[in-house]
């Protein structure tokens, strides 16, 4: 299993978002599970932990997450 961690700058999560956590997807062939939680992290960064059984795609993961963090306000998660 390949594991890595990185924080991406992102505009703060909207205060109107009510739930403490949200889940999307299912771990499976061609799919992934994403758990997003509000945290006590700095509110201008999205802190990511990635675990994957398929090595060699770190660059793609980091690029995709960086784009997501840039596009959507996810700071503080």
């Amino acid at each position: 299993m390949e594991k890595f961690t990185k924080a991406f700058p992102s505009k703060p999560l909207k205060s109107t978002a009510g739930k403490p956590w949200a889940l999307a997807g299912v771990v499976g062939s061609g799919n992934l599970e994403v758990l997003v939680e509000r945290g006590s992290r700095p509110s201008d960064a999205m802190d990511c932990h990635i675990e994957t059984s398929i090595p060699g795609y770190k660059a793609s993961w980091l690029a995709a997450l960086a784009d997501f963090a840039h596009h959507y306000p996810a700071g503080g998660t």
Binding site: M1, V27, S53
Partner: protein
């Protein structure tokens, strides 16, 4: 005819939300608790935050209920130690609190990666189901997706008071491919989907009495069916186990040598085979009843 959200295509959490009263569901041991499988981790296989099963408490029509939904897309919905423990704990809570418990099933049975741990977990769940039934706490299995209820979970489903099925659901122990492997393609062609569903699918199970309700592939219909079953339960006794055995022996005697599933349908009173083959839910039930008159 517009697109509707079909129950068999919904996710586990969508299904729970759709069959329970709006906003009533509280998830127990949710993903943030990260109760993941230590065995899969050891094998370098990606884990799921909820180990493939969502459990919690909710209300249906105002009445309290414990409810679970398996995540069939995660390792085939197969049961591992954590998954099984969540299910066992849910039924134990149901028994303790005397609150009905329903499980939306989609599972091939024991998770092979976890071997004995999965087997033990399923047997512990079955014991908890029997405890519920001894106290007359209703236990309901909903089998409504293509993955179906197989292996140990197939057995577990029949341990519940009731089974609600749709035409998509399948109930059995050995899967079609295994049956073909052992009995030969001539005896059972697993690639013949019509055959597979006519021998193990919801409509056939309903006809034979193994399923207590057959509903449309729709959350509202499933909810209604569960609602009707929340007040009844019976203990598992030697007497009713023997009675059940007798029913099955009779069935085997009657249909044991039948080659064509349509003949079983005819034997159970269905006259319009073509119509019944394409009908769903209540339409099928009506065609089945028409033959019995």
């Amino acid at each position: 005819m517009t697109g509707t959200s079909l129950f068999h295509e919904q996710t586990a959490r969508q299904r729970i939300a759709a069959v329970t009263d709006a906003g009533s569901f509280v998830e127990l041991l949710p993903p943030p608790e990260r109760l993941t499988s230590p065995y899969l981790a050891q094998l370098g296989i990606p884990v799921s935050f909820d180990d493939g099963i969502v459990i919690g408490k909710a209300r249906i029509g105002g009445k309290k209920i414990y409810i679970a939904a398996q995540v069939g897309q995660f390792v085939g919905g197969a049961v591992g130690e954590i998954h099984g423990a969540k299910l066992t704990g849910l039924f134990k809570a149901a028994s303790r609190d005397r609150v009905p418990c329903a499980v939306i099933i989609e599972s091939g049975g024991v998770r092979l990666h976890e071997g004995s741990a999965g087997e033990i977990a399923i047997t512990e769940t079955m014991r908890a189901i029997f405890e519920c039934r001894a106290k007359k706490v209703p236990t309901i299995a909903v089998i409504a997706s293509d993955i179906g209820a197989y292996g140990g979970i197939g057995i577990l489903s029949t341990c519940c008071d009731f089974r609600v099925m749709t035409e998509h659901g399948r109930l059995g122990i050995s899967g079609p491919i295994v049956i073909e492997k052992w009995m030969g393609k001539k005896a059972y062609d697993s690639s013949n989907r019509a055959l597979v569903w006519k021998t193990s699918g919801g409509k056939t199970k309903y006809l034979l009495g193994d399923a207590d309700a057959l509903v449309h592939d729709d959350a509202g219909a499933v909810r209604e069916a569960i609602g009707k079953l929340l007040a009844k339960s019976s203990p598992v006794t030697l007497k009713n186990a023997k009675a059940r055995q007798a029913v099955l022996a009779k069935r085997l005697k009657r249909f044991g040598k039948t080659e064509n599933p349509d003949d079983v349908w005819k034997g159970m009173g269905v006259r319009d085979i073509a119509g019944a083959s394409i009908a769903s839910g209540p339409e099928f039930v009506a065609l089945a009843k028409a033959g019995r008159k």
